[in-house]
């Protein structure tokens, strides 16, 4: 089958499936850790209180002051411009064009990875936010008043971002099906369309409001940024306990959909070449037999399965939430649903690391050598690195396996810790809180073991 998700078009290499013995070890450790967590759980919430320590005023001014904001914003706009220009004017070869690697590897994978450690690093570089704020400032200077905005429909919450997330992954993974490759030009046009849409929404609802709710990249990267150790408050940089900021993330409606979409899309990308390849092909053949074009059939079939992945992940989470509702003293179903959404962020991160860590390590070598020196693939050599290649020996297959399994196990533990902590908020009785966590534990074990399973299934 001519199945060409973007990672294929960019990278010459794929990961080997995790061997059975490592799968067994991973699953066993997950179980042991889980029971240990139940037994050794603390009795009062630890992450829910704020534990911030402000950093020096000079450092805050240097990193967060207006000059820094302008420099970062300009850099973000410049890089987006370079990517779009390279996509439109550069080579059609996906792996030789700056645009695809920059957008789908450096940014789409890099921001989640670094945000999860450092905090929300995308916000200062967000090109649309920068343009929106500059436009707002310009408007104020000319009109003498702040621009007026529509009230954002509260019930919509982060649903636009969740849907946008599915759309981005659709472009990345499903568009390039049936012999069609995602060309740099297509990605550049998509980026332009998205820019127009985002700026229009910012004009309608306000820059910060839209970044917090609807702007896909702000919401998605910001979600991982909640795990990181640096934050800002009142223009002051602060250090915080890792993961503690995640507790306040899911207060906006639709947040659960964002984290579920993240887990589901990564699962789909991993499973579409292994676990669910046969069903995808079966549906594809039905559709093709029904007279739909081959490319359209394959895309439709894959879209259907991506949505099924979303539904399946949502179902597992909902079952866990419904289970918790049966514990005496439980808050309402909707409170629980929103209340535990943030506990899935570490799982989503673990999935990302497990599936894309090696692609990131290898493809960033291309990004910082030949794609930087020859962004259009025209034979230029701006920085003298155009002749360099990717060294596939920088990390061994064993290292990749250990990182994959370790990320799932660590994500699992972090998820359990956040869930246990949240349960202590809802159930003041420690015993009931623990009883409620049998359910979340089952949810987490299901996700983690499924993640391990995806890694161990032979792909191709």
């Amino acid at each position: 089958m001519n199945y060409l998700p973007l990672a294929h078009a960019l990278s010459a290499r794929e990961d080997l499936p995790v061997p059975a013995w490592l799968f067994a070890w991973g699953a066993s450790i997950v179980l042991i850790v889980s029971f240990f967590a139940l037994a050794a759980g603390w009795r009062s919430p630890r992450f829910e209180q704020r534990h911030e320590r402000p950093l020096g005023a000079g450092l805050s001014r240097a990193l967060l002051g207006l000059p820094a904001q302008i420099v970062c914003g300009l850099l973000g706009v410049f890089l987006l411009g370079v990517a779009i220009y390279a996509g439109l004017e550069g080579t059609v070869a996906p792996d030789r064009n700056f645009a695809l690697t920059f957008l789908f590897v450096t940014c789409w994978l890099g921001f989640p990875f670094f945000s999860a450690i450092l905090g929300d690093v995308f916000r200062p570089f967000n090109p649309w936010r920068a343009i929106g704020r500059a436009a707002g400032a310009g408007f104020q200077a000319i009109a003498g008043q702040r621009p007026a905005h529509l009230a954002y429909p509260e019930r919509l919450g982060r649903w636009p971002a969740a849907i946008g997330l599915l759309a981005v992954v659709w472009l990345e993974v499903i568009y390039g099906s049936g012999g069609v490759v995602l060309e740099p030009e297509t990605a550049a046009v998509a980026a332009l369309v998205y820019s127009v849409y985002t700026l229009a929404m910012m004009a309608a609802f306000g820059v910060e409001e839209w970044c917090d709710r609807g702007e896909v990249f702000s919401v998605y990267f910001g979600m991982f940024g909640r795990l990181g150790i640096f934050g800002t408050r009142d223009g002051r940089l602060e250090r915080r306990r890792p993961f503690s900021a995640a507790t306040g993330w899911a207060t906006v409606p639709g947040s659960a959909a964002v984290v579920i979409a993240s887990i589901a899309t990564t699962s789909f990308d991993g499973a579409s070449e292994g676990a669910i390849q046969d069903p995808i092909e079966t549906v594809y053949e039905w559709l093709a037999d029904a007279g739909i074009g081959l490319t359209a059939s394959l895309r439709l079939s894959e879209t259907l399965f991506m949505l099924l992945c979303f539904a399946a992940v949502a179902l597992v989470y909902t079952l866990g939430v419904r289970g918790m509702r049966t514990v005496p003293g439980a808050p309402s179903l909707s409170t629980l649903r929103a209340g535990f959404a943030h506990t899935l962020i570490p799982i989503a991160l673990a999935y990302l690391v497990a599936h894309y860590f090696s692609l990131f390590v290898f493809q960033e070598q291309a990004q910082f050598t030949y794609l930087l020196s020859d962004p259009l693939g025209t034979g230029a050599d701006l920085f003298g690195t155009a002749g360099a290649g990717v060294d596939y020996n920088v990390i061994s297959a064993n290292t990749i396996w250990y990182v994959q399994v370790a990320s799932l196990v660590v994500g699992h533990v972090m998820g359990l810790m956040l869930a246990h902590d949240r349960a202590l908020v809802y159930w003041s009785d420690y015993r009931k809180a623990t009883a409620s966590q049998y359910w979340m534990l089952a949810v987490m074990v299901a996700f983690t073991c499924f993640g391990l399973y995806l890694l161990s299934v032979a792909n191709g």
Partner: protein, 303 residues
């Protein structure tokens, strides 16, 4: 504490189930193309590796059909020398082998080297350099044993006698055969008499090669026809430090590119190239037809 016990059981069941699914999924590694319902196997003729230059113009098709316990082989070839006698034999091996086709197919192995124990197709090309022949046998060629059909100039033509198992189109005595092409073999010894191999049409040769790696000298051969690997994407597995060695035979000129290792070799139309390099990068890498962008092999290098 009852709850805990229940949960323990539930979790072990869950993990066991996941493990089972994983193990079950593990051997699902076939990447073959959709199965053909028909019993007919077809292959296109392409010049063999060391054929004379004129052979590069040879095109045509061979078809092998198994019906009701019998076998019919028919060929249709063009681009030949005009008015020249030719003979084709059914072989057990693939076209990519060092000796294209390997040994003749025989119903009774080690038996007679003539029909009806073997399948021979004799014909003489017409003025336009085209020709057709059909041979039938009342016995069925076992699946996988019909490797290929190999075409020769029929040097033994003038000694030809009538064989029951084939129909020859024309009986035509042609004295002006260019004997300069004849390198080896002596007339009267059938195996060697027609050793001037011109072209080969792959039928089930790759399958036979996989079953019996000895036949191909332990080197897997990927046969490309019409821009696709005839047996689907070949899965080749190695351990780090091994030598990766495989051959590619193509009916059209192409560039074969091994990604990751970033090695490329040109294969001429109807020719074969061999890759041999150390497996020093771990992971899964693709080999593809560079111009068409079609994957032909997946190289797995385990640590």
């Amino acid at each position: 504490m009852k709850d805990v016990r229940k949960l323990t059981v539930a979790l072990f069941v869950l993990v066991a189930a996941v493990a089972l699914v994983a193990c079950g999924g593990g051997d699902d590694s076939t990447t073959g193309t959709a199965g053909e319902e028909s019993q007919a196997v077809r292959g296109k003729f392409a010049a063999v590796a060391d054929a004379p230059a004129a052979a590069s113009k040879v095109t045509g098709e061979a078809e092998l059909e198994r019906t009701n316990g019998g076998t019919t082989v028919s060929i249709s070839v063009s681009g030949l020398e005009p008015k020249t006698p030719y003979i084709a034999h059914l072989h057990t091996g693939g076209c990519g082998q060092a000796e294209p086709g390997g040994p003749h197919f025989q119903f009774q192995k080690g038996g007679s080297e003539e029909p009806p124990n073997e399948i021979h197709l004799r014909f003489t090309s017409d003025a336009a350099g085209e020709g057709e022949a059909t041979a039938s046998s009342k016995r069925e060629v076992p699946p996988g044993e019909a490797g290929s059909v190999v075409l020769h100039v029929d040097e033994s033509h003038h000694e030809m006698t009538s064989y029951g198992a084939h129909e020859s189109e024309t009986v035509f005595v042609h004295e002006g055969v260019d004997h300069s092409k004849e390198g080896k073999g002596h007339e009267g010894e059938p195996q060697h008499a027609h050793s001037d191999k011109i072209a080969c049409a792959e039928l089930e040769g790759m399958a036979a090669t996989e079953d019996d790696p000895q036949a191909a000298g332990d080197v897997p051969t990927i046969v490309v026809r019409d821009g696709e690997p005839v047996d689907g994407i070949a899965e080749l597995e190695y351990s780090a430090g091994d030598e990766i060695r495989f051959r590619v035979t193509s009916d059209a000129a192409e560039e074969i590119h091994v990604h990751g290792y970033d090695l490329a070799k040109d294969v001429p139309a109807g020719g074969t190239v061999e890759f041999a390099f150390p497996a020093d990068l771990e992971g899964i890498y693709e080999a593809e037809l560079e111009q068409l962008g079609i994957q032909i092999a997946e190289l797995r290098v385990n640590p």
